[in-house]
């Protein structure tokens, strides 16, 4: 039940052999232009350039909304203490996949998930698993900043409070301060912790939401296009923040913007029409994509 090494699951063996093949491929075709593009139906995988741990793994995940299938057999390993970005045109299933990871899809009526997502080897869709605990381990930041209509302090204290993480007021104060500091918001709000969180600017609100997620000390943070409602300056601040957070958390970010994916992430997965088309180190995906659709998307032919 405790931490398990990625190589122990049988499902991984298939993908690791694929990774070997890919490694071979990358080595064989060094010049970018000569890269032969495939159009095959299965996911193209490029190996990671540095050794990483994989505690979060998805295998053959399919999602159905009623009769409609939204995600087809997605398998993905998410590296520890790194940023993985999910890119693709709108409606491609990247947000759906993201929401599977902390089972937020449970809140949508008629949504069904098959396949397996493991966190430390535990299947998160196992009926015996407690979704409350899962979500305390896997935090989420949403597309639009959604601070609660409470004070800044209460917003951050919300998670620790419901989970009973602080045993005393001072402990809570410490958690709030540490979380706000880590979210880079402390200096801006330390004198008005009692004011409403909804009174902050958009970028500040989003950092408040990040602080709120951090306050629970999650292991994984999911971010669903966290900058789509923000102006470029606020976006830059958030991107810097994500880069800092990477040292402590496993982060998965859904983004519309390739530049953002390139700036913040180490690994990138490209989704199209509910399928995971290609995944690999961000540099590889951005510079030498090996699937035709990925290249079309990167070069702006589909979007």
């Amino acid at each position: 039940m405790t931490s398990s090494h990625p190589s122990d699951a049988q499902a991984v063996s298939a993908s690791s052999s694929a990774r070997d093949a890919a490694l071979h491929d990358v080595g064989a075709t060094k010049p970018v232009l000569a890269n032969p593009l495939t159009e095959k139906d299965e996911t193209v995988r490029s190996p990671d350039l540095e050794t990483r741990e994989y505690r979060l793994q998805a295998r053959d995940v399919c999602v159905f909304y009623g009769e409609k299938q939204a995600l087809f057999d997605v398998s993905l390993d998410v590296p520890e203490k790194a940023v993985t970005s999910l890119i693709g045109p709108s409606g491609c299933g990247k947000t759906t996949f993201l929401r599977c990871i902390n089972r937020m899809n449970d809140t949508i009526e008629g949504c069904r998930v098959t396949g397996k997502i493991t966190l430390d080897g535990e299947d998160i869709y196992d009926p015996s698993l407690d979704v409350v605990e899962l979500r305390s381990r896997v935090g989420m930041v949403f597309q639009k900043p959604n601070p609660f209509p409470k004070s800044i302090y209460e917003n951050v204290a919300y998670g620790p409070r419901i989970h009973g993480l602080a045993r005393s007021r001072t402990e809570m104060d410490e958690i709030v301060e540490a979380s706000l500091k880590r979210a880079g918001l402390w200096s801006e709000v330390k004198d008005r912790l009692r004011e409403s969180g909804t009174g902050l600017s958009g970028g500040q609100q989003q950092r408040l939401c990040i602080a709120r997620a951090i306050a629970v000390s999650p292991e994984v943070i999911l971010m669903d296009e966290p900058c789509s409602a923000l102006d470029p300056i606020a976006t830059a601040v958030i991107e810097e923040l994500i880069d800092e957070l990477r040292a402590h958390y496993t982060i998965i970010i859904v983004t519309h913007s390739m530049q953002q994916a390139a700036r913040v992430s180490q690994k990138t997965a490209f989704f199209h029409l509910g399928k995971l088309i290609e995944e690999g180190p961000t540099e590889v995906i951005m510079q030498t994509p090996r699937h035709k659709k990925t290249q079309d998307y990167i070069t702006g032919r589909i979007g």
Binding site: D130, V132, E133, S136, R137, I162, H163, G164, L165, V216, S217, P218, E219, A247, H248, Y249
Partner: protein, 455 residues
Amino acid sequence: MASPSSTSIKAQADRRRVRVRASLGRRHLVEWLFRGAGLTAIVIALGMVVGLFWIMISKGLPAFTQATLSAEVTFDPDIITAGPPPVRESGQSEADYRAARMAWEGQVARLNWNALVEQAVRNTAPAGMEVDRRTALALVSNIDRHNLRDMFVANPHLLGRTVKVDLLASANTDNWLKGTINRDLPDSRQQLSAATRQLADALYADGKIRFTFAWQIFTNTDSRSAPAAAGLAGAFVGSLYMMLIVIVLAVPIGAASAIYLEEFAPKNRFTDFIEVNINNLAAVPSIVFGLLGAAVFIRYFGLPMSAPIVGGLVLTLMTLPTIIIATRSALRAVPMSLRQAALGIGASHNQTVFHHVLPVTFPAILTASIIGVAQALGETAPLLLIGMNAFVAAIPATPFDKSTALPAQIFLWQGNENRNFFEARTSAAIMVLLALMITLNALAIFLRTRLERRV
């Protein structure tokens, strides 16, 4: 890689895991209780609906059948001594003929029709049973003699003939046979004398008294002297008049003011005031509208008491806000692009509203109107203040005549002294009222789905 802050984060995560796990049991229990409370509330609310309908129906259904005595009635010339009806002679004025006819009918009415009824009951009674006058008359309803008289007036050739007639049993007989009164009560607390009870039981055993469908609930007006014959016809027509007035006045005025406020009115203090005013009017207690009706329509304008015209006007004013608010929200739901498209091709503001916006909202306006009318149909309190709870034994010919209304009739009946009989009859009246309201609402839903599909 293993920086100090990173290890502290790991420590925090481990502590979080322990504490979260510790809190889970209690939190899931609270969740379960909370959810259970919600479900209980829904079950209670749904149970109330079911219970209410169940009680009304189980109390009201028996009232739809009534004890009826089939008897042979002889139009005995010894009793009916009024002579032949007058014939209009040439040269006689309409007024004179009417006067003569009235005189004859008056004469007929004064005859001893009870004797006819009495004879008929006695003839039906089992052989050997002594039936005295009071016993016989208590068995059947007071309306029977009027019915026999009306039969004769309509057809004077019945004189001397014997016909089979269904006589309505009295309310007390009905109670006795249905068991709505406790059969073990001592004589002094029974509504019927021992002899009548015995007669009723004997006739019921003979099959002479049967339970037949109580048409009179639908065909008769209210009746005090013959409770068994009391019906809803007068109240129904009174309600019908009021609903017609509401439809004719409230729907166009309501739709027009909604159109004005939503489409034309400039945004200023005055229209703001109108809006606040309408929202507030929708929440004014209905009884206040009754006071308005009593003071303004009856006292100031001198309209008659107890008349459907006043009731209709009061209900119109009450329904107006409902229709306005619903129509406005329907208009608001029409996308701006439709208006802009129409204006863009050169239609005037009026044309845009009347040719493009209004047709789209028509189903919603219709639905709102029907629901408003249904609501007005069940309204009681204001009617009491304008005298519509008066006893009226005639079907109103015009909206200016004295009349009652369905809910007011229910109010009257529930207060009747013959509790045993009228509890069922009131429930029956409630069933009729509810059936009408459900029909109206079902119509609204039907029309909405039907029309919205077409648009």
